[in-house]
C-alpha cells in the first residue's frame, strides 16, 4: 500500500529496508524508541529531497566553474552554501576514507606487496626453483 502512495517510483527513492536499518542504528542507544512506517516514508522523501537539493546546488557550482563533472569539492561547497557547513568535515573524511579503501584494493592486487618478501628473497626463491627444475630435467 505504502508503495503506491508516493507514486510507487521505487527507483528514485531509497531502499526502505536500508533506511529502516540506519534509523534503527541511530536510535539504538535510546531506550526503545521506534520509527513508524509513515514517518520512515516521510523520512525517505526528505532524504531524496536532500540529495536533489545538494546535487542541484553542486551542479550549479560546477557549471560556474565550467566543469562538466560534479566533484566532491562541489558537494562540499554546496553543503556549505545550503546551511550544512557542519557536515563538511565528516564528508571530507568519508571521501578520503573511500579513497584509502580504493588504494588498499589496488594494493591488494599487487602480488609483490602481498607476498611480504623482499626482492632479494624473491630472487633467491626463483633461483631455487630454477635449480630444482633443471635438476628434474637432467
Amino acid at each position: 500500500m505504502s508503495d503506491h502512495e508516493f507514486g510507487g517510483n521505487d527507483d528514485l527513492s531509497l531502499p526502505k529496508a536500508t533506511v529502516q536499518k540506519i534509523v534503527g542504528e541511530i536510535l539504538s542507544g535510546s531506550s526503545g524508541i521506534a520509527f513508524s512506517k509513515e514517518a520512515r516514508d516521510v523520512l525517505i522523501e526528505c532524504c531524496v529531497e536532500f540529495i536533489t537539493l545538494v546535487s542541484s546546488e553542486a551542479n550549479e557550482i560546477s557549471e560556474k566553474e565550467a566543469k562538466k563533472t560534479i566533484a566532491c569539492d562541489h558537494i562540499v561547497k554546496a553543503l556549505d552554501q545550503l546551511g550544512f557547513p557542519d557536515y563538511v568535515p565528516a564528508v571530507l573524511e568519508a571521501a578520503a576514507e573511500h579513497k584509502e579503501v580504493q588504494k588498499g584494493r589496488e594494493k591488494k592486487a599487487n602480488k609483490l606487496e602481498q607476498s611480504g618478501l623482499s626482492l632479494e628473497e624473491l630472487e633467491r626463491l626463483q633461483q631455487e626453483q630454477f635449480a630444482a627444475a633443471a635438476a628434474r630435467h637432467n
Binding site: 534509523v23 542504528e25 524508541i33 546535487s55 551542479n59 564528508v91 568519508a94 576514507e97 579513497k99 584509502e100
Partner: protein, 385 residues
Amino acid sequence: MSDDGTYAPKSPDLSSFYSAGPTPPAEPAEETRRLFSQHSQSDASHVQHPSSTYNFQAHAPHEQTQHYATPQTLAHARSTYDPNTSKAPGFGGVEYSPPAKQEYYNPPRAQRYSGPGYSQPGTGNTDTKFPQRQQQTFSQTPYRGGFQYQYQLAEHHQFPAQTSQFIAAQAQVRQQYDYPVPSAGQPGAKAQTSPKSYHPDTMPPRRAAAAAAAAAVAAQTASEAAPEAPAEAGSSSVSTSTTIEPGQVRTKFPTARIKRIMQADEEVGKVAQQTPIAVGKALELFMVALVTKSAEVAKQRNSKRVSAQMLKQVVEADDQWDFLREIVSKVETEEKGGKGSGAASQSGSSKVKAESESDEEGGDGGAGAGGKKRGRGGGRKKKVQ
C-alpha cells in the same frame, strides 16, 4: 520476493527478517565459510556452525564483521571499510595521493571552516588528531616512496597552525552548546529549538527570536534571547534526560542509488566517483539530525514511536529544514486523502491547516491532537474515530 512468499506468506516479522539478513541460504560460498571458521577460531564468543545457514539473524552480523575484518588482516592495520573502526588507523595506514591531500586541506579552506559554527556531529574531534596521524604515517609506512615522504614532511609543517585553529573552534562550539548536532552560525536559533516543548506558552516569541537570529539582527535579539538561556539552563536536567545520543551508523547507503537520484535531475550531468560517497555521508548526517530530533520529540511526549507528525514538527521548527516543508505538508495531506474516504479527505486538508497552526503555537495541545490524527490516519486507533 514472490518465491519467498511460498514459505513466508504474510507475516510482518519475516519482512524485517529479510531486511536484517538478505543472504539467501544457498549464497554463502566456500570462501565465506572458510573465513567464517577462521573467524570463529579467533573469537571464542563467535563459535558457530559454519553450516547453519538457515539461522538468518545469527548469520548476518557475522558476515558483516568478516567483511570488515578480512581487509584489515590482509592489509596490516590499513583502514577498513568501517568508518568507526578505521578512526584509529585513520589516515595513517595507507599511502596517500598527494594532490588529494592538497585539495582537502589547503589553508584557505581550513580557515573558512574554523569559523564560528565549525564542528562535526557524531564523529567527535577526530580532526584535531591530524599531527598524530601524520606521525603514524611516518612510522608505519617504511615502504613509502621517497618523494612522498618528503611531501608529508612538508605538509606536516602546515598542520599545527591549522589544527590549533580547529581545536580552538571546536572547543568554542562545545562550550557554546553542549548538544550533539550543532547547527552552524545560528547559536540563538539552536538554543531555542531544542527545549521547545517545555515552554509551550512561549513558543511564538521563540520562533520569532529564531527567525530574527537567523537574519542576524544583532543587539535586540541578543537581549531577547538572553533571558531564555537561563530558562534553558534551568530545564537542562530534564533536557539531558531527553537528549538522544545517536548511535553509530554502520550501514551505508547504496552509492549507485544515490547517483541515480542525483542524475534524475536532468541538469545534472556527470558525477565523479567520489561524489555519491560524499553525498551519502552528508545524507547520513542529515538523517541522524532529523531522526534524533524527532526521537527527542517522541520522548518528550512519552511516546515509543516516532510518528510522521513528529517529523513534521521537527521540520517546521527549524529553518534549516525549510526545503522539506513542502514535502512534509504534502505528505500529510496525501496520506489523509489516500486513506480516508472522500469526506474525510476534504476535512483532512482543513485539519492540516489547523495542525500547522497549533504546531506553531507549539506545546502539548497541538501534540496531543497530532498524535490522535496520526493514529487514525494509520488506522491504528479505531476508537478515536
